[in-house]
Structure formats: structure tokens, C-alpha cells
């Protein structure tokens, strides 16, 4: 006999349609249906959105537009498309003017783009074949953290926000099956995300199939679906809340956020009828969570983030927090660093380094560098005339160096100096101390 009680925590389709979709007014739904309107409102509210290059309302505007001036890095898409259909992503210019390369390396030219715009205008990609408008907007550069997860399309984060509190989130990874689209319905992979830490938990492919592993294109093997840390998690949660505060006529909404390499979280679109599969990849019930945040008065964005983190943290939350604390960012005057001398774990040399915030660049002792084989022809970047604090002027080689400080990988350029008479053979300059705090007094 099935224990029906344990299903009570899930949000069912009936309950979503009857209770929670009532919180979305017709006005809100109209905003969500039109990407252009969403973008305008969000941009006015100061939420990050991909910037609009042009909007075409008719074919004349398309033909009048000077396509040749576009450098690349743009997206052509229908304003009211659904399911990610009809989106052309252009990466960069091809060899000739008026030709560009798409993400998969295929070439498109102006005529192709015009034809595509015409199809969009004629309503090929809109819901009921109704006339549509075309948006040309800036392409979002995929975050390096996600590069290994997919070859086609860009992974995004879906956050469900209710009552200004994020209640559940997932990372949606496009697959070959979904054709580069990140809709689970079309076969994309969804990874549940712990709201407190931004670390993935479970995985689902499509709407039903639970998965434990996902292919990593960089390692060229399958990796576990759990334990992937979504970068800038705090910012993502903030963006999601800001988004709902900007469109308050949608009480229950799914927000699709893309992470740009440089600009951080960007809202791609908002969804007035978010799907329910998110419960599968989180292995948690949305119904229970929604009931939990019902009626809470959220004072501001930070309050909302805090609520989400405290209310919906996974059990591993404390462990992660403790680990984060242990990997503290405070440096003493003398710290141990590991220097990479070759490939693999064996080729690392640990030594003592002096933290010197007075120096800009780090420097390494000449003899030591020679011993470690770091002065090879390939490794020297350039020679530079240096002025030392003692008034000696000389040309020092600047070499590429990779080292670990407090478990953090730092790839940098350091100069080679004669430190044979000094106790520490390695000096850490402030260029490589980004993100660390330096303790002034030893306690």
C-alpha cells in the first residue's frame, strides 16, 4: 500500500493550477509571455538582462538594418517564442564581411538572418502562429565553470520564487537530445541545487528519468551530478528576488538566469507556469516549501536570500560552511605556497613565502628558479627593467608561474630576482593576493 501522506509535500499539477497560478494576474502573464516587455521592466528595475541591440516590428526594418556592422556575439530570437525555438546564436565574424559563425561553427550570412527574421515575423515560432517581433540582443558568454557540461547551448539556473523568497532551484543543462535547449520537456538535464550553498544535489533527465552521472566534456568521462558548485550563487538568489519584486503581478514564478562570464547573473526570461520536474532533481516537495514561506513579510532582497538559505538548506550545509571557514582567507606574514614545476601531483615544490604588500609583482629567487627548471626558454615571458627599493637597477626575467596559496590556484607572472641572501626565496606581491586578507600583527 502506498503511503499517500509522504506525497503531500509535493506540489501537484492540480494544486499548482488551482492555487498557485491564481497568484499570477493576467497582466503578469502578459509580461512573462513577451520577452521584450520583461526585459524592459527588469532593466528599469536594475536587474541584469542581456542588452538589446535592435527590435524589429516589420520586415522593412530588417532590410534597413545594417547587419554588416554587427561584430558577432549576438542572438536573434522571437519576442514571444516558446520552448527555446527559433533562436540563432552568433559567436563571431567569419572570414568575409556579412558572414558570421554560429556556436557550432556553421556559417550564417546576412541573407540567412533576414530569412530567419522574416519567419519569426510571420509567426513560425510563436504559440499560435501569430505575428511576432524579432529581438536582436547581446550574446551571453558561457561561464567557464559550465563549459565542460555541455557542447550545445548554455546551461542556466531556474529559480522558483514565491512571496519574494526563492523556494527551489535547479541547474538546467542542454543535451544533444534537447537540441541545445534547456527545457526538461525536450530532454535537457536538470540538477537540483541546494539553496544555502549553491551546490548541486540530484539529477533528472527529461521529465522522469533520474540520473546519477553526467558527462564532463573536459575530463572526457562521466562525473557525479552532485557536488557541482554554481558560481556566484548569492548573486543569483538576489537577482531572482529582485526580479519578482520588479514584476509583482507574478506571485509564483520561475526565473531563468544565465551566468555571464564577465557580467554575472542575467535574467533570460520569466515563466508564469513553471514546471514541476524541479521537485524530482531536488528530491524535495515544492508544496511544503511554498506553504512554509506563505505569509512571511520579506523586508528586502537580503532578507529574502537569508530566509531561503535558512529555511531550505540541505543537511550538508553545515559541513560545507565549516570547510569554507577552514579555508580561511587570512594570511600571516609568512605563508607556505606550492609551486608547480611540471605536470601531475608529484611535480610540486612546497616552500615558505613572504607576504609583501609593498611589492606589486611576486618574485622568486634566481637560483631556486633555475633549480626548479623554471627559467626555460618557453617559460620566460619577457625581460623587464626593474628599480629596486635599494636603488639598484637591473633587467630581470619575468616568468609564468602557477602556484597554490591556501589551496587556491593562482596563475600569474612573477619576476626573477637574486634573493640568495634573503631567508625567504619567494615573495608574494599584492597582485597575487587578490581575495586574501593580510594580518598586520601576529597574535
Amino acid at each position: 500500500m502506498i503511503n499517500l501522506k509522504q506525497y503531500r509535500r509535493f506540489l501537484t499539477k492540480n494544486e499548482r493550477n488551482k492555487v498557485y497560478l491564481k497568484k499570477n494576474s493576467a497582466r503578469g502573464r502578459a509580461i512573462a509571455d513577451k520577452k521584450w516587455k520583461t526585459k524592459k521592466i527588469l532593466a528599469e528595475a536594475g536587474v541584469g538582462v542581456p542588452s538589446l541591440i535592435r527590435r524589429f516590428k516589420n520586415y522593412k526594418q530588417v532590410t534597413d538594418f545594417k547587419w554588416e556592422e554587427l561584430e558577432g556575439n549576438f542572438v536573434v530570437k522571437p519576442a514571444s517564442g516558446y520552448g527555446g525555438e527559433g533562436i540563432v546564436v552568433v559567436r563571431k565574424r567569419a572570414k568575409w564581411a556579412g558572414e558570421w559563425r554560429k556556436m557550432d561553427g556553421e556559417i550564417v550570412n546576412v541573407a540567412d538572418l533576414r530569412l530567419h527574421c522574416r519567419e519569426i515575423l510571420e509567426g513560425r515560432y510563436s504559440l499560435h502562429g501569430m505575428r511576432d517581433t524579432v529581438l536582436v540582443e547581446e550574446r551571453i558568454k558561457i561561464h567557464p565553470k559550465f563549459l565542460c557540461l555541455t557542447k550545445t547551448g548554455t546551461p542556466d539556473v531556474r529559480v522558483i520564487v514565491y512571496n519574494n523568497v526563492p523556494v527551489m532551484a535547479m541547474l538546467r543543462v542542454p543535451t544533444a537530445e534537447s537540441g541545445g535547449k534547456s527545457n526538461l520537456q525536450q530532454g535537457a538535464v536538470g540538477l537540483g541545487i541546494d539553496l544555502a550553498t549553491g551546490i548541486t544535489t540530484f539529477g533528472v533527465k527529461g521529465k522522469k528519468e533520474m540520473i546519477r552521472k553526467i558527462y564532463d566534456y573536459r575530463k572526457k568521462k562521466k562525473i557525479k551530478v552532485n557536488g557541482i558548485r554554481v558560481p556566484e550563487w548569492e548573486e543569483i538568489l538576489k537577482t531572482a528576488i529582485e526580479c519578482q519584486m520588479a514584476i509583482s503581478s507574478l506571485g509564483f514564478m520561475g526565473i531563468d538566469i544565465l551566468l555571464d562570464k564577465d557580467k554575472g547573473p542575467m535574467v533570460l526570461e520569466v515563466n508564469a507556469r513553471p514546471g514541476l520536474s524541479i521537485q524530482l532533481c531536488n528530491r524535495a516537495g515544492l508544496g511544503l516549501r511554498l506553504r512554509r514561506v506563505e505569509g512571511i513579510e520579506v523586508r528586502n532582497v537580503r532578507h529574502g536570500v537569508k530566509l531561503a538559505k535558512y529555511l531550505f538548506a540541505e543537511s550538508f550545509f553545515e559541513k560545507v560552511e565549516a570547510k569554507d571557514k577552514k579555508r580561511n582567507r587570512v594570511l600571516e606574514a609568512l605563508e607556505r605556497v606550492k609551486i608547480k614545476t611540471g605536470k601531475g601531483r608529484k611535480n610540486r615544490v612546497e616552500l615558505r613565502a613572504k607576504v609583501d604588500t609593498g611589492a606589486f609583482r611576486s618574485s622568486i629567487d634566481e637560483d631556486l628558479a633555475r633549480q626548479l627548471g623554471l627559467l626555460g626558454e618557453k617559460n620566460v615571458l619577457y625581460y623587464r627593467h626593474y628599480r629596486s627599493s635599494l636603488g639598484k637597477h637591473n633587467d630581470r626575467p619575468v616568468i609564468a608561474l602557477t602556484f597554490w596559496l591556501k589551496g587556491r590556484l593562482i596563475k600569474t607572472a612573477v619576476n626573477v630576482a637574486n634573493r640568495s641572501k634573503l631567508r625567504t626565496k619567494f615573495l608574494l606581491g599584492r597582485k597575487d593576493l587578490k581575495g586574501f586578507l593580510v594580518k598586520a600583527i601576529k597574535d
Binding site: T12, K13, N14, K208, N282, R283
Partner: protein, 276 residues
């Protein structure tokens, strides 16, 4: 000239009407003949006898419907049609119950309801055969017309031509081979099945073949349920004898289903994996 043309077309139109009407009547006659041969009495007569047997008494407001039914039957309305009309909301209720509580999905609510009525006419086996062949023809013709790069509507018209010819052959064949006896069906089941096949093709274009298969299969399952319920003798008799009870039942059930917020049976299967 104009008058002649008008008369000509009028005559033509009458001919078409004749063509439609005749087979239906023949159909009834044939059925009656067959039933009489096997020594059984027709359902229609039995239902009418049932009506005669029931005492209605004087009009008191509550038995308005019963009075009206008798009046209509006396004026020549077919009892069969009345039963079908009364059962339509019952089937629709059943379909909505199966959708919201069990989680079966089809093309909306009306398509399954109508296909259920179709099944009642053709028999479930015959109806499925009819649908399968129409769908097959639809797919083949789509495959053919795609190569011609025609506009959408002309392509669909060509599709209809193929379906018409195909269905004609099917009906002729079945009379020879004695399969499912769909040689005597009227035009409406064919139209209904064409619409369902069209839904399939459209969903396949707009969404995916998987989704189209799922929805079509769901529609057929829902319709089969509906047809089975409609085919129960007791249900037919009761709908005729106690139409008021039927109304109340339909209203109450729809109120309940309409306010049902709980889990669907198929969702239990889906969410089972999400329980830790």
C-alpha cells in the same frame, strides 16, 4: 441561364442529401434484419418498451425531464439519440475524472468524448481499425506531400483525397472479409477519426512525435473507457428512466473533480523517485 444553373445545383444538392440519408436508413434496416434473424430484439424497441413500463404519474416539477422525454418519443424523436445526448455529459465527466484524478491525457475533453460516441457506433475494434488506417494514410500522404512543397491547405486537401479513397477501400474490403463490420458505418465516425488523425499530425509538427503518440494513445484510452460506460445496458436504461438523477450525479461529480487539488495517480508514479 442563371435559373437553370440554380435548378441544376439544387437538384445536385438534393442528390447529395439523398446519398447521405439512404445508407443510414439501410444500415438500420440491415441491422434490424440481422437482429431479427438471430432472434434478438433491437435495443431501440426495448428502450421504448421500458419507457412504457415506467409509471410517471402527474407532473410535479421533479419529473419534468421524464415527461419531456415521453413527449419527444411520442412525437417521433429517436430514443437512441436521446440516450446518447443524455450520456454525453456523463462521458465528458468520466473523461475529466480520468484526467484530473488518474492523470490520463488526451486532446482536450471533447475529442475523447466524441471519439467515444464514434466507438459506440463502430464498435471498439472497428473504430481502432478505422483510426489506424486513417492515421496511416495521413502519415503517408504527409510524407508524399512534403516532397511536393505545397502550401499547407492544398496538401491537407490531397491528404483528404487519399483518406477518402482509402476509407472507401477499407469499407469495401471489410464487407468482403467480414472484419469488424465497418462496411455499414455512417460518415460521422470517419470524420471524427480524420480529425483525430489531424490532431496527431499537427501535434507532431508543433511539438514532437513522442508527445503526439502519447496524446493520441491517451485519447483512445479515454474514448474506450467512455464507450464501455456508454455501452452498458443498465447505464442506458437508467439515463432514460431517471434523467434527473443523472443530472445531479454529473453536477456533483464535476464539483468534486473541479475542486480536486490532490495528487493524480500518474503523479504518484512520477514523484515516487523523488522520495528520499
Amino acid at each position: 441561364m442563371g435559373l437553370v444553373a440554380f435548378l441544376w445545383t439544387k437538384e445536385k444538392a438534393m442528390a447529395i442529401v439523398d446519398e447521405v440519408v439512404i445508407p443510414v436508413e439501410e444500415n438500420k434496416v440491415v441491422e434490424m434484419d440481422k437482429l431479427e434473424k438471430t432472434g434478438d430484439k433491437t435495443l431501440v424497441f426495448e428502450l421504448e418498451r421500458l419507457l412504457d413500463q415506467q409509471e410517471v404519474g402527474k407532473w410535479n416539477g421533479l419529473n419534468t425531464m421524464r415527461k419531456l422525454i415521453r413527449l419527444a418519443v411520442a412525437r417521433g424523436v429517436s430514443t437512441n439519440t436521446i440516450v446518447l445526448l443524455l450520456l454525453l455529459p456523463v462521458v465528458a465527466t468520466l473523461v475529466s475524472f480520468l484526467h484530473y484524478v488518474l492523470g490520463l491525457r488526451g486532446y482536450g475533453i471533447f475529442t475523447p468524448t466524441m471519439v467515444a460516441v464514434t466507438f459506440l457506433n463502430t464498435g471498439i475494434g472497428g473504430g481502432l481499425l478505422l483510426f489506424a488506417s486513417i492515421l496511416l494514410i495521413s502519415l503517408v500522404s504527409r510524407w508524399l506531400t512534403k516532397r511536393l512543397r505545397l502550401h499547407f491547405w492544398p496538401a491537407r486537401s490531397m491528404n483528404l483525397l487519399l483518406i477518402s479513397v482509402g476509407t472507401f477501400f477499407l469499407m469495401a474490403m471489410s464487407s468482403f472479409l467480414g472484419w469488424f463490420n465497418i462496411s455499414q458505418i455512417s460518415i460521422f465516425p470517419v470524420l471524427m477519426m480524420i480529425m483525430l488523425a489531424e490532431d496527431f499530425v499537427r501535434t507532431q509538427l508543433a511539438k514532437s512525435r513522442k508527445e503526439a503518440k502519447k496524446l493520441t494513445f491517451g485519447t483512445l484510452v479515454l474514448s474506450i473507457f467512455g464507450a464501455i460506460v456508454m455501452d452498458i445496458r443498465l447505464v442506458q436504461e437508467w439515463s432514460l428512466l431517471y434523467p434527473e438523477v443523472l443530472f445531479v450525479l454529473v453536477l456533483v461529480l464535476n464539483f468534486w473533480v473541479g475542486n480536486y487539488k490532490g495528487i493524480r495517480l500518474t503523479e504518484i508514479e512520477r514523484f515516487k523517485k523523488a522520495i528520499r
